[in-house]
Symmetry: C2
Subunit: 345 residues, 2 copies
DNA sequence: TTGAAAGCGCTAACAC
DNA sequence: GTGTTAGCGCTTTCAA
């Protein structure tokens, strides 16, 4: 049997309230503090969080519902937020719903049963119905990476400026002289996919280019998807001279496809990739890329939910928008035609 | 305020005990069952798991402590085990200790405070001291992927037969006629590293080959590590004619290195890779590889801990050893010399 | 089959 | 600063 405060109380001769106060940061007379600390050591006492939760009506658990655990972007966000939450003595229960809305709803309800104090969700169900029960229960919800328009103002969120990210990448390619730019996107209709497409269109239209449907390929944010999409894109009769690939896994897959096809970067094709700087290391040493601040995303989520938990008015929801960074490598060159043109200049 | 059983009791006019029994699978008179079910719907009642835990002394939470969350092998194991555990109404708290023994110990203690019912651990600290407190508290521990010799017989475990896996791979290469085989390992002194090295040595020594230190490279189970290690290995004056790479990330990194160096597989070099069949998809279509049953590993862990929880004698620990599979692609050819030899045959 | 009542380990009034 | 006490929501004897 694990020791309880009652045991401490007996050993020290102090009342339960004093013991409790000691553990909750209250002021306790010096000699009693020592008394308690000795007893704690002697019994190897640790407070029972379950009992504490029952009393305080705070489980100190945050539920996290994500579409997929096998995704580097997601896991690095989770690591960062878990870190911060744990430092505040919050535990995190992660639930991978395999991008299945039914499972997502089950996960939310499961977590609600466990009396989680808050919910962080990278939503699969773009309608947001799975979150109704959480909102009805009055527990704070923070969306990550993807917004749900229908829930606007009713939940908080942490996202990156996807439109801007895409605009920046395309502008970089335009500046290098490219006029024919391919785009590799994730699943159609996903929030991030739409935003990144929008940014692409914005930048191109700003300079009067109407992209062809052929140059926009939807993959599924996997390595394999990126491989296929890039391969098909580059096999078309008039392939683009530059490429923007919009997530980490697809970037790896895409680079592999290019290597297999004997297309050199940047000599034959300029490429801007996505994410995960560290892992790239010396593998694609000179890849220019758009980098999402996963670490900050995770931390912002954690901070946001903690703030929400400490507020009287839990309806004061807010959306945090983080910026991406463009890190220049040497994978963007002027297109061949442009270089040829220069010779005649 | 969330509704409680007391509320149900009032609405239905039944006693608390009856309500409780209903929720715990006891027999309740038909008309009372209906009465309860109506009240449940009306109030949107869900049982409070925290209160239940306090009473039953079972939190229905399993703690999982892993070295790294950004690792595909680990996340797929976790997904599988979470799936199974959740179906049994167990929640999973995952704790990523960043391969830091200090953090690992903290994680274990944190989870103990939360009164987890059991612990699943892919250990970072090879001495196992971080688990002493869990064992002292009498909660079952299941190790995954890595054994801790010092804890032999005191904890359960699920591992793959790493020695055999490596033996199989090397035999495959030997059978193809290779006599000079390179090996890319993880961090030195890691359980899996040692086992995989052992298998390599076993197979080679069985045919009288003493491998050179030059042909055995230690990386750190990352893509970048694999890239570097393969590059260095292949740049040496007398590079091997075949290669066994012992994890997923390093296999990708290694393949990229080979492509960058212009070394063709299998024409110039035979390669056997590791893991993650699905993701490879058409990227390395013909790679022969050793495949760990991540899904089964996760499930076995879950089953094992559930079994342990239901046993009187929690000391009846056992180790489950799973086998790997060799799936043949076309990345293994006879070495060039051998082929040259054939011409003269 | 059902109900009354005790109590899991803790916190938070409240009185001292 | 400290002790007494009630009670969080549930399960589980025990008696009816």
């Amino acid at each position: 049997m694990a020791p309880t405060m009652k045991d401490l109380s007996q050993i020290t001769g102090l009342g339960l309230a004093t013991i409790s106060k000691y553990f909750n940061g209250g002021t306790v007379r010096e000699k009693n503090r020592i008394l308690i600390e000795n007893a704690v050591k002697q019994l190897h006492f640790v407070p029972n969080e379950v009992a504490r939760s029952l009393k305080t009506r705070r489980s100190h658990v945050i539920g996290v519902v994500i579409p997929e655990l096998s995704n580097a972007f997601i896991t690095s966000i989770i690591s960062a937020m878990e870190d911060l939450l744990r430092r505040r003595n919050y535990a995190v229960i992660v639930s991978d719903c395999r991008s299945d809305p039914k499972r997502e709803k089950e996960a939310v309800n499961f977590l609600l049963n466990r009396q989680v104090d808050g919910l962080i969700n990278m939503p699969t169900d773009a309608t947001g119905t799975h979150l109704k029960s959480a909102m009805a229960a009055g527990i704070p919800v923070v969306l990550v990476d993807r917004l749900i328009p229908a829930l606007d103002g009713q939940v908080s969120a942490v996202v990156i400026d996807n439109v801007r990210a895409s605009e920046k990448a395309i502008q970089e390619l335009l500046n290098a002289g490219h006029r024919h730019i391919g785009l590799i996107l994730g699943e159609p209709d996903l929030y991030t996919t739409n935003c990144r497409l929008q940014g692409y269109l914005n930048s191109l239209r700003a300079v009067g280019i109407t992209p062809s449907q052929e140059d926009i390929r939807y993959a599924n944010y996997t390595m394999n998807g990126g491989y296929q999409a890039v391969q098909q894109l580059m096999q078309q009769p008039d392939p683009p001279t530059a490429l923007f690939i919009t997530n980490f896994e697809m970037t790896i897959g895409g680079m592999l496809a290019l290597q297999n096809m004997g297309i050199r970067v940047p000599e034959d094709l300029s490429v801007i990739g996505f994410d995960k700087l560290e892992m790239f290391g010396n593998i694609f040493p000179h890849l220019t890329l758009i980098h999402q601040p996963q670490h900050s995303i995770g931390q912002e989520c954690a901070n946001l939910i903690l703030a929400l938990l400490n507020e009287e008015n839990r309806l004061s929801h807010r959306t945090v928008i983080l910026n991406t960074q463009l890190t220049r490598g040497t994978s963007v060159h002027p297109p061949k035609q442009a270089e040829a043109g220069k010779e005649f200049a």
